[in-house]
């Protein structure tokens, strides 16, 4: 069947197969483009980029940054990368990379062009800069929130994947954790494993061996084809694009598109249900307070995934850190709204299932004395 949404005009816009790759504006002027791996290893000064290369570079950087951030922060808990801009500075001797992340986060990196810049380096620097922001306390609230969810193994996986990408290899998998995320696909886990084959022939693009696709999946495939097909033209490679939904790229692409839309809807719903005071507080501080219906105590719901509910004492100090969430890995806005409604309407039921961690002043005697007293009371023969 013909791929919905991708017309002949779109294909022509990508460049007809009869056109030689050199006529479609190669990314760099003097470098022979023989393979993608070679391209990614090539170091060029920004002034040597062709016009138009920046757009392609930006798209690629956006794609790779998004992927790395997404996977780095455990899929779905990531702050999605919303925008990447690359601009030339100082007469082409420097590049500036600007990355916007959801929640209004943004970072700006200036790259010296003296020794040249390549895509892998650009991606890595941008990503590292974002990590530094998270970790160096330049945004304390966000830093605190994400510290809880951090897993050092992700860093090892990340460096593996960056190495793999630089060598043009398929990303490695961990034994227990596939890269695709099944939970996002509304069509169910089977659709995420669908194999598709796309072939360009004289009568257009054909899509074979597919299960019914959602609109988001179709968009993701179209994007994938555009990207890969154009790359194939530029690099003179085979004009055939194929893949499976269980490869990281494809699954990630539609997961991201879906998740971003879902996060936005969840955020809208949350804002609709907050009171005026709570909304003002949320806009200002990224958290809001609710009063428990039974205890009449004050809880603070923070913008984070886990242990994001804080029980405050009369002085406003944090006494306990509490975690309860609605089942089903909902988006963050939904989770926060469910927590608000639960605390305001059925506090005891929520506390029954919650995990709680005491953060207030130490209760009882210090550990050594406590152990001594326990020994005396419970095991007098030891004395």
């Amino acid at each position: 069947m013909a791929l919905a949404g991708l017309t002949e005009a779109d294909i022509e816009a990508l460049g007809a197969p009869s056109i030689e790759p050199e006529m479609i504006e190669p990314m760099y002027r003097p470098v022979p483009l023989t393979s993608r791996a070679e391209w990614s290893r090539t170091m060029m000064r920004p002034s040597e980029f062709r016009p138009g290369a920046f757009h392609w570079l930006r798209d690629q950087t956006f794609h790779r940054l998004s992927r790395e951030i997404w996977h780095r922060y455990r899929r779905g808990e990531a702050p999605p990368c919303s925008r990447v801009d690359i601009s030339e500075l100082d007469g082409g001797r420097e590049l500036e990379l600007r990355v916007d992340v959801m929640d209004g986060w943004r970072t700006r990196v200036r790259l010296e062009g003296a020794r040249g810049i390549d895509l892998a380096f650009l991606t890595h620097v941008g990503y590292a800069q974002i990590c530094m922001l998270f970790w160096d306390g330049q945004a304390a609230d966000f830093n605190r929130s994400w510290r809880l969810a951090f897993d050092w193994r992700s860093d090892i996986e990340l460096s593996n994947r960056i190495d793999d990408a630089a060598r043009g290899l398929e990303p490695r998998r961990t034994a227990d954790e596939p890269y695709y995320w099944r939970g996002v696909d509304p069509a169910g886990p089977e659709a995420a494993l669908t194999t598709y084959t796309v072939q360009r022939s004289d009568d257009g693009v054909r899509l074979e061996n597919v299960a019914p696709l959602t609109a988001t999946q179709q968009r993701a495939i179209e994007d994938h084809i555009r990207r890969e097909y154009r790359a194939a033209l530029v690099f003179g490679g085979p004009r055939r694009v194929e893949g499976t939904w269980n490869t990281f790229d494809g699954a990630q692409a539609f997961a991201f598109a879906d998740r971003n839309a879902a996060e936005a809807r969840g955020e809208t719903l949350l804002r609709e249900w907050l009171s005026a005071e709570q909304l003002a507080q949320y806009d200002r501080d990224k958290h809001f307070d609710v009063i428990g219906c039974h205890s009449k105590r004050r809880y603070r719901i923070c913008r984070a995934r886990s242990f994001n509910v804080l029980l405050l004492d009369a002085g406003g100090e944090v006494e306990e850190q509490i975690c309860f969430v609605p089942a089903g890995n909902l988006v963050l806005g939904d989770q926060m709204l469910a927590q608000k409604v639960a605390l305001e309407t059925d506090e005891n039921a929520a506390m029954e299932v919650a995990n709680r961690q005491w953060l207030g002043p130490r209760r009882g005697p210090p550990g050594a004395i406590s152990r001594l007293m326990n020994d005396m009371l419970l095991n007098p023969f030891r004395m």
């Binding site: 249900w273 909902l330 988006v331 409604v341």
Partner: protein
């Protein structure tokens, strides 16, 4: 128009119905029973930022929110 808002993977799904339409009310009540039977909590919006948990279907509720069963995180 009344609306039932069900939290799900897409953010939420909204089902609007006319309280004066008996067929639509029946469908809404059936949906209410199915969701609460599956462990969803139903909460009606009562005022500015206020809500009330409800165990029975109320066709006059303007907005009813359904969220899945809570669990320890």
């Amino acid at each position: 128009m009344a609306v039932q808002i069900v939290m799900d993977h897409t953010g939420d799904t909204r089902h609007s119905f006319n309280p004066a339409d008996s067929q639509a009310v029946n469908d809404a009540e059936k949906r209410f029973r199915e969701l609460t039977g599956a462990g969803f909590t139903a909460a009606e919006r009562t005022g500015n930022g206020e809500a009330q948990v409800t165990r029975a279907f109320n066709k006059d509720a303007t907005e009813t929110l359904f969220f899945p069963r809570l669990q320890g995180g």
